[in-house]
Point group: C2
Amino acid sequence: MPSSLPLAMLIVFGSAKLLSDLFERIGLPGIAGEILAGVLIGPSVLHWVSPNETMKALSDLGVLFLLFSIGLDVRLADLLRVGLLSTFVAALGEAIPFLAGWGILLAWGATPHAALFMGAALVATSVGISASVLKRRNLLHHRASQIILAAAVIDDVLGLIVLAVVSSVARGRFNIAEIVLTAALAAAFVVVTAIWGTKVVSRIFPHFHSRLRADEAQFDVAMILLFSLAVLAFYAGVAAIVGAFLAGLALAGSADSRVRNLTRGVTELLVPFFLAGIGLNFDIGIFRSRSTVLLALVILVAAIATKVLGCGLATLPAGWHTAMRVGVGMIPRGEVAMVAAQLGLSMLILNAAVYSVIVFVVVASALLTPPLLKIAFTGPMGRAP
Amino acid sequence: MPSSLPLAMLIVFGSAKLLSDLFERIGLPGIAGEILAGVLIGPSVLHWVSPNETMKALSDLGVLFLLFSIGLDVRLADLLRVGLLSTFVAALGEAIPFLAGWGILLAWGATPHAALFMGAALVATSVGISASVLKRRNLLHHRASQIILAAAVIDDVLGLIVLAVVSSVARGRFNIAEIVLTAALAAAFVVVTAIWGTKVVSRIFPHFHSRLRADEAQFDVAMILLFSLAVLAFYAGVAAIVGAFLAGLALAGSADSRVRNLTRGVTELLVPFFLAGIGLNFDIGIFRSRSTVLLALVILVAAIATKVLGCGLATLPAGWHTAMRVGVGMIPRGEVAMVAAQLGLSMLILNAAVYSVIVFVVVASALLTPPLLKIAFTGPMGRAP
């Protein structure tokens, strides 16, 4: 066994937990500390750990288990109750960022196709960061948290459609039937799994305990469900984490405390790899050109303001406080933005500078969300409003 | 996120648990089923999963957590009580396999250097398989289990020395001072960590609970100790799993049920990747040449018989039953054999056929040990003797 794996584990896990503790001590959210730990140990600063295949896998597993464990803590009925509102939140929270990203890149002098890709990169929220903050601060039972989770799932389906449309346009072969099929498949997967998953699981799951020989049969079955739905989600076109969330949701009523404790162990070990993993992608190269820095800052401000505006406006019927919380909770961008950036780069539509701007927005929005969420939920002075 | 990770997780974890359950149903040890699952899904049979970097990392983490959790279940005093006996077990259990491997390859017409490498490949026991069986069957409190664990740690240090000597000889620059230094460093690491680790940890560990802000501060600190000792073990020249075992041992008195439950979750998820990972390495290519098959079978029989003989003889003072159990428990070969094989191949001392013979012995000895251990502990009819 090479030393590199235990050493990398030690550096990532240790630095994430250390900075998380330091941040909490000075009143900042620990999660921002864990992301910053990734920036510090990554290629741009100390260069102790590089974002290789293994770190990517641990990060992917971390966010998979994070969303699974959040699904375990949420009741489907609560999500369905905010379903219609969340659909508006997702839709308006995608339309405004798309227009902003597209407009800014056109004004910056980029090609129309590049502008479309920047729009697509800004649409989809990556719920991992907000979910992590809400879970760690025991805020999942808030109405705003439930809107954020439901909207994030719908947002992922919509984001997929936007990306499919944009890349079809860029390829010059826009096939409406194909797009509709993609959208229908993704939506069908989410609806069927969400509605029927709980019913099927609650009927089947208890039987495994008596039928299987393994000591931890229920946990084993839960893991198999988690990986199966993550795979199915991927083939249905949505993010694997949506499948993981739906798996947790399906098990929420059936899983006993043993399954929850064992899941907690995996989550506690792996989530720092997800959070620090975001920071690892930070590329200092962006600061070499002044115009790139300017673009990055403009896009970052737009990315934040448009989500807060779009999602907040849609949530206004639920009250001002809830609207602010939902708006802030939907800020972080993640996988979909990275996919759009990589796709644009590989299709020679985006250049390296615009690519690194998108990566910067992902890292910076992840870093800024935890403190903003903390303020939105407890007020700037830490008092609950 | 590519689908390949959730899909690979599903295939490896699912097939390992499925075969484990089937094996237990027909009275065979589930662990052999998990190893066989790796053979089936691996490149030689179905080719669903190949042994890539991520699978290797999950496998390495699996055995690291396995040995850590076994350390948590063992008391240092029990190991020290069998310390002298275990030293004999390790020494005699290395000398006889070394002579057998060396003699057989000379008789087969290999070069003297190749014969030395085969000897070195057969010396070191890989305790993961036996430890997994003993833990899963609740046999860790047996005197034989304690001898196996203590002997495996000493065996690892001795195996390192043998490998260092053999590769010095093969390189033609045998430096006695360097070998002595290597041996002293490894032995010092094990002794110092084993004796002082528990004392230091039991004094420091309780403070973290009150001082740190994290919800799972004790688990976080346990993880950092685990990775730190794994890294130190590697730099001291012994296997990372020895460091993991010592970390568990140091925490055995201090860790509460919360730390144990969270560790259990990680272990339950990752150990199948270690077990199936052994099977993934199986190479069907060995069966292409009749003389290679013959050599593989002769070496396999020798590898098994000489460990049983050497370790059993050394344990005879503790009684016939204990001697058989220890002999069988020390059969599996693992990392050290693979390192010797890869080193020999890269130094052009071993050819591809002899290399694949060593890999075959690792997989086959891992597959055969669980049923043999079951017989040694409970008798062929499943009754405790």
